[in-house]
Amino acid sequence: MKNKQIKYLIYALIFIYAVYQTIVSVKASSLTYYDLEFLLEGLERTVYISVVSIAIGTFFGLIFGWMKVSMGTFGNIILSGFLDILRSVPLIIQLILFYAFMGILEIDISIFWVGAIILSAYTSAFVTEVVRAGIESVPLTTRRAARSLGMTYWQDYRYIVFPLGLRAVFPSWISIVLSVIKDSALVSVIGYLELLKTTEELIAKTNEALLLLLGIGLFYFIISYPISLYAAKLERKLKV
């Protein structure tokens, strides 16, 4: 407990100092109140595209993960091949290619959805492996016991496999969530005005590169850190 308090104290001091320095620097810089508002809009879009992508990606990851442990070899080869491509090709290349294809095929789709679809697919590829590992972490004998009590296939999943698997892989899922939030910055390459893109535009306008980059670094931390704190708390609660 003592160490933890010291840790939080250090975080708080750094945070207060950073905020103080930011205010001082912002006052001295050519940034205006409207620039800050612009930046906050970017922050909002980053949160928005991350939440949407994590939700959709996790949904499909659950389905694909279940398919991976339940399907025969043939279906598995196709699914695994597809997911391996998503995991192995850099996100930035996937984004640019998908965006270009949408243009070539003249499909009318907003930049937000181009980014969200790719980010969701990318997320789902990682969540699939986590889900598979979670399902396989539940001993076959435990599942047999559940079935021997008269539970149906889905009751076994709902009451035994899901809660036990979740406990096993929850930290891995949180890692994915955190990396998706940060990876969402890459959506800026196709012109989506999220946090990084708004910052770039402000840098072009005001030349305050260092200050702005430090500022959004702080923003990303403010989004991510509470998630890992909350996750650690939840993890302790789930532990049996």
Binding site: T142, A145, R147, S148, M151, Q155, Y159, L164
Partner: protein
């Protein structure tokens, strides 16, 4: 009544059961003994269709267990099973472990399911452990929980698969006492066991399995105390020394 008729079971090329015929009447206790790999546990798994069979038939109260048209989940409600690894649900408390399936499988209300669960937990001596997580209990206590959990479904038959084999020697007694209690209450049971003395004490019949066939079958006074077949004598002389 549980009936096995010419049951054959293979895992790939390996034939584990080579034509098992067996009848267990209501209220009877059958003990199944034999060396490892003799097919005795597999036979148990075939009775509630956790494993499928290649040939033959398993009939429980007139219903053919491996018939694809029956709802196996309903049939399993009257066949309780306890395993060698106790398989507690580690994320649930003792009470929740025992109350879960009456609630979700039998559709009882939560309070009703908990009432039944408490009765059966009391019965196996876990009346003071309702809110404990299984991970904090000994193997013997967890195995008794597994028995209470199966009994909370109020089954008509109980299958026990070497339920004392994974326990420390000093914990075996408490689990066997629970079985003796069930025996006294008239539960129909099939016990796959290595506890020969226990089998002699509680069984109506004993089946000696050897390489996928029933080598010898009869009351314990015959199969255990006075075995007729040479293989049975060899097996017993090995385990009883």
């Amino acid at each position: 009544m549980i009936e096995l008729k010419n049951v054959h079971k293979s895992f790939g090329d390996l034939e584990v059961l080579k034509g098992i015929d067996l009848t267990v009447n209501k209220g009877e206790v059958l003990s199944v003994i034999g060396g490892s790999g003799s097919g005795k546990s597999t036979m148990l798994y075939c009775i509630n269709a956790i494993e499928n069979i290649q040939k033959g038939e398993v009939i429980v109260d007139g219903t053919s267990v491996h018939d694809e048209n029956i709802n196996i989940n309903i049939l399993r409600q009257k066949i309780g099973m306890v395993f060698q690894q106790w398989n507690s649900f580690p994320h649930l408390t003792v009470l929740e472990n025992a109350a879960l399936s009456p609630q979700i499988v039998l559709g009882k209300s939560k309070s009703e399911a908990e009432k039944i669960a408490k009765e059966h937990l009391d019965h196996v001596g876990l009346g003071d452990k309702f809110n404990v997580y299984p991970g904090r209990m000994s193997g013997g206590q967890q195995q008794r929980l597994a028995i209470a959990r199966a009994l909370a479904m109020e089954p008509e038959y109980m299958l026990f698969d070497e339920i004392t084999s994974a326990l420390d020697p000093e914990l075996v007694g408490e689990v066997l006492d629970t079985l003796r209690l069930l025996r006294k209450e008239g539960m129909t049971m099939i016990c796959v066991t290595h506890e020969i003395a226990f089998a002699r004490e509680v069984s109506d019949n004993v089946a000696f399995f050897h390489k996928g066939v029933i080598e010898e079958f009869g009351p314990p006074s015959q199969v255990i105390s006075n075995p007729q077949k040479e293989r049975t004598q060899q097996f017993l002389s090995k385990v009883l020394q």
